[in-house]
């Protein structure tokens, strides 16, 4: 390579905005903000100040919502946040090995979760504590895997809420396959797959989009874009706004304000209803923010600034609904006080249940490895039992 050709490459690089000077970086960020920030296509029904704004397309899905229902959404979000805070505290106290907080994402989860019908089926990641709450899964059941006593402590078919999936994006395919089965059965229910902005980079998610489109499966892809995949920002995951990915697969994509519970509810109702009608998949990008760390093992101070968090705090999902409830006189002091007490009671119950959660029997290692049994597992269980028994003999002497 000649000196001339090296020099000639330089300006091309800066023009592409890939690397190099601070100036170039700034340009890139501005472009990204424009594409993803205050976007006219962001569906919002409640402003951060709690003001109800009209939206011709989605108002119909929440028009008849009662004060009681609004208080219910508020209660769901408050209790979910309280549970989440308790779990974080329990991790700090050594009762849990790890916790993945949903702080900041309550509206996206409660809004979408409350849009599901009992016969719908939910495929979560490992952060869908609010959706689990909506599905009626006892929150303490979510903690077994984080305490290390099991790898998923609930019956998925009990609440049509699948086990948490840790390997990123895999569940999008399970949801699609399940939805293909729903269609084969001629049922009119729908399936919803949760995943995040990081997962949007996974091949499985793209394959799920394609299978769902090709078979017109009744599945809703609900992407909580919380801006961060551990330390990697959106810019490391995508060059286009995520909701636009749907277009290439041949189904609609919508970006909703994920901190607006009412908008999340409306948009998810729209998507689930069209799926139930046989109109196929849809992608919802719930634009939100992970207020906390990725998990209790993470340290966001290494990769993002506090001022970013502060900006999102102003858009807090719970605060905005409270403002709306108060402005509309939908809730009085008594309601908030009662909820506060309920919240504390939940925290106390979670604490007590977790602390009393026993370690599994050591032979659980060999349980349920196979449904129909396996000779090697039987043999190793017997060896393990003999080994354990050898201590009992020694103690007996």
């Amino acid at each position: 390579m000649t000196v001339e050709s090296t020099a000639a490459r330089k300006p091309r690089r800066s023009a592409g905005g890939k690397a190099g000077t601070t100036g170039t970086k700034r340009t890139t960020r501005t472009t990204a903000k424009k594409a993803q920030g205050t976007d006219p296509e962001l569906v919002q029904l409640l402003t951060p100040e709690g003001e109800r704004v009209k939206n011709a397309e989605y108002d119909g899905y929440v028009d008849g919502i009662t004060a009681d229902e609004l208080r219910g959404l508020y209660r769901d979000m408050v209790l979910t946040r309280r549970f989440d805070a308790e779990a974080t505290a329990l991790q700090r106290q050594g009762e849990l090995g790890l916790w993945a907080s949903l702080l900041g994402q309550e509206a996206a989860q409660i809004g979408s979760g409350r849009a599901t019908r009992e016969d719908d089926y939910v495929f979560p990641t490992y952060r869908e504590h609010g959706v689990a709450w909506c599905r009626g899964v006892d929150p303490t059941n979510l903690l077994g895997m984080f305490r290390g006593v099991n790898n998923g402590g609930w019956d998925p078919n009990g609440n049509n809420f699948h086990l948490y999936t840790i390997v990123i994006g895999s569940q999008a395919l399970h949801a699609t396959g399940y939805a293909m089965g729903v269609a084969k059965d001629g049922a009119d229910s729908a399936v919803i797959a949760y995943f995040g902005d990081g997962a949007s980079s996974q091949g499985d998610v793209s394959e799920a989009f394609n299978f769902a489109a090709v078979y017109n499966a009744p599945v809703v892809f609900f992407c909580q874009n919380n801006q961060w995949a551990i330390s990697e920002s959106n810019e490391k995951q995508t060059r286009v706004p995520l909701y636009q990915r749907a277009q290439g697969f041949g189904f609609p994509g919508v970006r909703v304000d994920g901190n607006d519970v009412l908008a999340s509810l409306a948009v998810t109702r729209w998507a689930l209803e069209r799926a139930r009608r046989g109109e196929g998949p849809a992608l919802i990008e719930a634009y939100t923010y992970r207020m906390g760390a990725h998990t209790t093992s993470d340290d966001p101070s290494r990769y993002r600034h506090d001022d970013e968090r502060a900006a999102w705090e102003a858009k807090d999902p719970i605060l905005r609904l409270r403002r709306h409830l108060e402005a509309a006189n939908h809730a009085d002091e008594g309601f908030f006080a009662e909820l506060e007490a309920e919240s504390e009671a939940l925290g106390k119950r979670v604490r007590e249940v977790v602390r009393a959660m026993p370690d599994p029997d050591r032979f659980a290692i060999f349980e349920n490895v196979y449904a129909d049994g396996h000779a090697l597992v039987d043999e190793e269980r017997a060896q393990f039992a003999a080994y354990q028994a050898s201590f009992a003999d020694a103690e007996g002497v």
Partner: protein, 326 residues
């Protein structure tokens, strides 16, 4: 007619037909399995008779095929998925190892995933790269999966019936170079257990253990050895997870010598596991170390070299000689 002579591929076809016929929850999924009937015609005619709702041509994405099969199984279906060739399974390896194998355990037994993953495997057909591999050890190593491989038409028929009925995921390795070998299939027989080995030829001097495509070779080896006055016992293991060690043990206690033969590389292969276990079980019976004949620790070679790479009559006889020389 209950007994019919048919090719191994046809036997699988008939077995899948029976499965589709007897259980409406059984589905066939894969690339080109519909109109084309699969690249080996194993699913020939099934879509025509059972419809494209049950015999499903999928997008060309192996992870997608297995991932959606898991979802369908969660919904109560029993998918039988085809991976077109051995070397194409790896895009689905994550779904198989991370999801399919573990979901029963992580649900504490609440969820069952009766999924069969069919994989035509092995070499000897002069194919291009990635079409001749034997990755069975990579699946046998994973708890939660069962791994089987029939060697003949009758087993192909019955083992497929049993695999479809199994509530566990089964990786079903089909010996593609034996697809056209004919054998008698009794469709009214009472089959033995799916994971049981079988003595296909009795002998007294040495045991040859194999499965899938290598069983036929081992029978030829036993014929050749018989001409030299040596009596070899041949075992068809049939299952690689679990392995029927009791049958191998009984044979080795009699013959005192064991040679394991497979196309897969011997390093960390199923032969290594068998050698270790049989050494433990038969230490005082063995007259020679357990020997292995298989592929080398090298990528599967270009077709013009595969005869050098694959175990053949002479290489197995060489191992037999070495064992008997101890």
């Amino acid at each position: 007619m209950a007994v019919e002579k048919m090719a191994l591929a046809k036997a699988i076809n008939e077995s899948l037909r029976r499965a589709l016929d007897s259980d409406p929850k059984v589905l066939i999924m894969g690339e080109d399995v519909g109109k084309l009937g699969g690249v080996f015609r194993v699913t020939d005619g099934l879509q025509k008779d059972f419809g494209d709702d049950r015999v499903i041509d999928t997008p060309l994405a192996e992870s997608g095929i297995v991932g959606t099969a898991i979802g369908l199984a969660l919904r109560g279906y029993r998918p039988v998925v085809e991976i077109q060739f051995d070397g194409f399974v790896f895009p689905a390896y994550d779904q198989i190892v991370t999801q399919l194998a573990k979901m029963h355990a992580r649900s504490l037994g609440k969820v069952k995933l009766p999924v069969v993953v069919r994989i035509p495997y092995g070499g000897g057909i002069g194919a291009v790269e990635h079409h001749s591999e034997s990755p069975e050890a990579l699946f046998a190593h994973v708890a939660g999966l069962k791994v089987v491989s029939p060697s003949n038409a009758s087993d192909a028929y019955w083992m497929m019936q049993q695999a479809v009925q199994s509530d566990d995921p089964v990786i079903f390795f089909e010996p593609k170079r034996r697809y056209w070998d004919k054998g008698e299939v009794d469709t009214e027989a009472i089959p033995g257990p799916l994971h049981g080995a079988r003595v296909v030829r009795e002998g007294t001097d040495l045991t040859l253990a194999a499965y899938g495509p290598m069983v036929k070779l081992c029978q030829e080896v036993a014929d050749a050895a018989a001409e030299e006055g040596r009596s070899l016992e041949v075992l068809d293991l049939r299952s690689v997870s679990p392995i029927d060690f009791d049958t191998i043990q009984a044979s080795v206690e009699k013959t005192r010598r064991l040679v394991v033969v497979h196309e897969a590389p011997v390093f960390f292969g199923s032969g290594a596991e068998i050698a270790a276990r049989i050494t433990e079980r038969c230490f005082y019976h063995l007259e020679a170390p357990v020997l292995r004949v298989g592929g080398y620790h090298a990528p599967y070679p270009p077709a013009r070299l595969e005869e050098e790479y694959l175990p053949d009559l002479d290489r197995v006889l060489d191992a037999v000689d070495r064992s008997l020389a101890y």
